[in-house]
Amino acid sequence: MPRLAPFAIAVVLAAGCRPADACRGDVCGTLVVAALGEPATLLPPVTDQQLARDVHDQLFLKLADVGMSANTIGDADFEPQLAQRWEWEDSLTLVFHLHPDARWHDGRPVTAGDVAFTFAAYTDSQVNSPARPALARIAGVTARDSLTAVFRFSQAFPEMFYEAVHHLRVLPQHLLGDLPRGQWSTAEFGRAPVGNGPYRLASWTPGVALTLTADTGFFLGRPHLARLVWRFQPDLAAAVNLVVAGDADAIEVLVSPDNVRRARETPHLALYPYPGLAYGYLGFNLRANGGASRPHPVFGDREVRRALTMAVDRERMRANALGELAKVPPGPIPTLWPLWEPRPRALRYDTAAARRLLAERGWVDRDGDGVREKAGVPLAFAIMLPSTSGLRRQYARLLQEQLARVGAKVAIDEVDGPVYGERTAAGRFDAYLGAWNVDPTPSTGIGGIWTSGAIGRANHGGYANPAFDDLVARASSGAGSPDSVRALWRRALETFNDDAPAVVLFAMDNVAAVHARVADVRIRPDSYWALVRTWRIPADRLIARDRVAPAAN
């Protein structure tokens, strides 16, 4: 049955609303994104929410940005943005030359003073930026003249350029300079930002939508799409409904095979697969549940962790829960990293070996109830997971079933998000199903999560092995040839897999769904909407919402 309402609206539009002359050439159209949430603020330093970062990509430029290769080593693969060019004065001094046509949306020029101000803000403890620790190796930023910004590093490392540009979205000093830094987290600017990117904020209706309009004077070329609308729908299934029903045009990740099937069966949708930056794992608490000073009675023993890892058929679980949307990773890495290799390097699935190893460590089922014991302590533990994740719930049930076969009794402990966050941070769990959406680089993606330096931050299970830490530190420092660095990372992954502080279960291959009328769709895996200004809607494919004239700017 045809949808009557859009037809009626199209008639009303044609009859008497704003004229349909909003399109000039291929500068036309509206893209409605089904957004899984809503930003808290749009002031870049004070949030690292995924959705806020997506919108920031359109409002606030960086000096340069990661290219399609997602290579973060050196500077060769980076694309100029606010910086027209750059050069290294010496091994610790990087000089950026700003594009002379770059402008804030209020018409003021973007200056090197803005760049220095931005660095000072991001590194100010009062602003409390989540990106502050990542800037620790930059000693300072100064303005040599109005268009020249100079970065000085305290040490040399392969990803100096990445660290200089990736975290900093340049901010307007003339609008934020007088705002007390302690008030940035709730600043009105975060609700009505003035940026320098291809789009500017037109409206933000909390709980409903956020609309950006193309900046007609954007110095790198006017975007083709006239409007971008993020329509807030926190529930994944409901967000997919919006796209399938045609009330939204795009969703960046479909997550489950069911959603992919629904999108594939929808004639007006086109699917775009791309490598992901997310992986999921079963993390073991190596310390006693809630008592960091004692080892965990089960997971404190490396051999027991190895046995439990061997008892898990990760390929079968992946096929069951995610189908072709994910791969079993060779370690705690996403599919996008150059380190990715299809051959699993982790402990292989072998239940006989798992049983043997458990018995060797004294875990034996003496009373015949199907659960092993050791010194009166049963081989029993709970897997904690956030109740909002259907995927992790599915994995928990599969793990429960598989681990029961080797004599482990597993309870499933579903808690809501803030409780999950609190308990993982405090170490109040036995095991947990976690997922990380990591940076494009292993330096922070492994170093910032699994080393002993990350205990208390992201290394919730308390895994600590000096040999692993040393390998990660040496690989991150980049000393030696690219092949030797790669070999160091491989050895680090092998050490991790041998120690089995976690069973890395899946690494996502993402699939986006975009309305088929949209052409030139390119998705950069580390930042879904970063290239949206180059997307377009041909004149013969326009629908009613494409013809709506954006607010003048």
Partner: protein, 323 residues
């Protein structure tokens, strides 16, 4: 009247203080860290600690409570953790959506419920009455979220007659003429209002039927019939008027039902009202927003109850006698 009103105002303030206190205690006693969601990005403990300091969570609980009550007395509901803006602004944006939905649902509830009640009273004891009794009983016992999902599936997904989410189409709304905007609002309103309205109508119909049957047994009705008035006139002009009094009293009870039902219905239909705001606030442990929505919802209910009482006093002189 003045003394009665003064007593009601004092009682209303006591209710609001109780709600504010209980909600404050409940949200702070609930486990969970507001600034540590189940995010997929590592969180720096120093950043979390600084956020707790900036929002006053590093202070002892009694100090937080005293500050909260002091601010509440001046109408300041605090700043939302998750929206980084005043709670009052968040509520001011959401409340009209909920009131609009509640008004539409209430209209449907009363129009449909009273009509069914009238039909049932007029056909009491016959098959139609029995059938309507079964249907209304069945609908009244259904959970709101289930009805919402069924309506969404049938009219939004299968038939695709109505939009599946939101209060309006944000990509088109501003470009529509007035008639188009009204039509767009009504299309989006249809499913959530039908969910709440149908459930309410089922209960209202049962009350209306009982009230009418009681009125029809009164002596003044027998007198009217003895005067030779036709049954339709007896029902509508004599019995129904009196049977409206208990239905008016129900109005005060309908508001809490609509507001609590709205939490689920607004979540299912992504309706940007108070219900969804409160549900999100609870999920995110946004303490000021949870207490703010609870206090505001209580104020609306207290006010609704007061209005219902005033209407009842106007409709039934006996209420004033018993004052």
């Amino acid at each position: 009247m003045a003394a009665w009103l003064a007593r009601r105002v004092v009682a209303a303030l006591a209710i609001l203080w109780t709600v504010a206190t209980l909600t404050f205690v409940a949200v702070h006693a609930a486990p969970g860290e507001p600034f540590l969601p189940a995010a997929e990005r590592p969180a720096d403990p120093a950043v979390v600690a600084e956020l707790r300091r900036q929002f006053g969570l590093d202070r002892p609980l009694h100090v937080q409570y005293a500050r909260y009550l002091g601010a509440l007395a001046t109408g300041d509901l605090g700043v939302s953790f998750s929206q980084r803006r005043p709670v009052a602004a968040a509520i001011a944006a959401a409340l009209p959506h909920t009131l609009f939905l509640a008004a539409a649902a209430l209209l449907l509830d009363y129009v449909l419920g009273i009509a069914i009640g009238l039909v049932q009273a007029a056909t009491a004891g016959r098959r139609l009455d029995d059938a309507l009794t079964v249907v209304t009983l069945m609908i009244a016992s259904l959970p709101a979220f289930w009805v919402a999902l069924v309506l969404l599936l049938v009219f939004g997904e299968w038939l695709r007659w109505l939009p599946v989410a939101g209060a309006y189409d944000p990509a088109l709304y501003d470009a529509l003429p007035l008639a188009g905007r009204v039509a767009d609002r009504l299309r989006h309103l249809a499913l959530p209002a039908a969910t709440l309205g149908l459930l309410g109508a089922a209960a209202t119909a049962r009350y209306q039927r009982a009230a009418l049957l009681e009125a029809l047994g009164q002596e003044y009705v027998r007198t009217a019939r003895a005067k030779g008035l036709d049954e339709r006139r007896v029902l509508l002009r004599h019995a129904w008027r009196n049977a409206l009094v208990p239905i008016t009293a129900l109005l005060g009870l309908a508001l809490p039902f609509l507001l609590t039902g709205a939490v689920l219905v607004e979540t299912v239909f992504a309706w940007p009202g108070m219900g969804r705001l409160a549900a999100d606030a609870i999920t995110l442990r946004d303490y000021p927003l949870v207490t703010g929505t609870a206090v505001t919802a209580s104020a609306v209910v207290v006010l609704g109850s007061l209005v219902a009482d005033l209407l009842l006093r106007a409709a039934d002189p006996r209420v004033r006698v018993h004052d």
